[in-house]
């Protein structure tokens, strides 16, 4: 956005802040949700720190490189990355009130998110079958807590997305539905950012 597009009033001291009136609801909701996401990322920072401290504490059990399958992690990463884009396209479709495209992109986002979750569950169950469950070592406890918390967030996101599809079907393009989907899109992008940390530190950083 260039400064030429800036509307008078923004950064303009002619109108005192106290006389500008309340901010539009869309701005308040978006900003509040942005603050929630930042605090959610602080939770993940705690889990990342725990994992980094405990990643060598294998207690004689299996270590990361013997357990992790990088090709599967790469597929998971692609699923989340593409779903972030389809989610963004869904947001644009909802803002442009294009029902067909909105449903197509929401459905694509749901399928990609479910594919991600399916592979994560397959990975966890294969590891538990090998005797590498969360009780085996401090390293594995930290691993399941960090990656599992991300997985729970993705699950919650999928449930939220189903709710959004249902609301779009029943309520249509109402401002509140648009605001809620906007928050969902921010949430989904934030999960993708956390996943960058997960695959870099947990899966690629394993040595």
């Amino acid at each position: 956005m260039t400064s030429g597009e800036l509307t008078p009033g923004i950064g303009d001291d002619a109108i005192p802040l106290s006389e500008r009136g309340p901010a539009p609801k869309r701005v308040v909701v978006g900003f509040g949700f942005w603050l929630f996401l930042l605090s959610d990322i602080v939770i993940f920072a705690g889990l990342f720190a725990t994992y980094a401290v405990l990643s060598d504490a294998v207690a004689g059990g299996p270590s990361g490189p013997t357990l992790f399958d990088r090709s599967r992690v790469f597929t998971e990463t692609l699923c989340l990355l593409v779903s972030s884009v389809t989610c963004g396209f869904g947001l644009l479709a909802i803002q442009q009130r294009n029902a067909t495209r909105a449903y197509v992109w929401m459905f694509a986002t749901f399928v990609l998110g479910a594919l991600f979750l399916k592979q994560e569950i397959a990975e966890f169950s294969a590891m538990v079958a090998l005797g590498a469950g969360p009780t085996r070592s401090a390293f594995l406890s930290a691993f399941y807590t960090l990656v599992g918390t991300h997985g729970i967030h993705v699950t919650a996101g999928l449930a939220w997305l189903l709710g959004m599809i249902a609301q779009l079907l029943t309520l249509g393009f109402q401002p509140m539905v648009q605001r809620r989907f906007f928050c969902f899109a921010l949430f989904w992008h934030a999960l993708d950012i956390v996943w960058i940390g997960v695959f870099t530190i947990v899966y690629l950083g394993a040595h």
């Binding site: 701005v27 972030s84 884009v85 963004g88």
Partner: protein
């Protein structure tokens, strides 16, 4: 008052709402994909000098997070985005404090911890 007049500043993603194009998502996807492939390539092949791989992975991850913030979240340092930008900066500060603070403290404790034989010795 039109949608464009937001004297109190805009929420996150405001640029996308105003301009509504697919371009930024496509650019972001391309850049993120390249950085992801570079990360996996650096970690899985021997193209890069071994000891420098962790630093390269860190740089690539931070670059990709930046790409996501700019092209997916549409957070920028534009004048009407001051609130978003400042809260992002504070979030990054807290995350850095937690992660690096924990690593330093735990590394220090680990360093100060006497060996098992010494502890048993001291209890005699």
């Amino acid at each position: 008052m039109s949608e464009n007049l937001l004297p109190q500043g805009a929420g996150p993603g405001a640029d996308a709402q105003r301009h509504g194009n697919h371009g930024s998502y496509v650019i972001g996807f391309g850049a993120a994909l390249l950085l992801t492939i570079a990360s996996f390539g650096a970690a899985s092949t021997h193209l890069v000098y071994g000891p420098s791989v962790p630093i390269l992975l860190g740089v690539l991850a931070i670059a990709q997070m930046g790409v996501h913030v700019v092209f997916f979240f549409h957070i920028s340092s534009a004048p009407d985005q001051t609130n978003n930008f400042m809260s992002l900066a504070f979030g990054i500060f807290v995350v850095g404090l937690i992660v690096f603070g924990s690593l330093i403290i735990m590394g220090n404790l680990n360093h100060m911890m006497p060996s098992m034989e010494k502890i048993i010795d001291m209890q005699r």
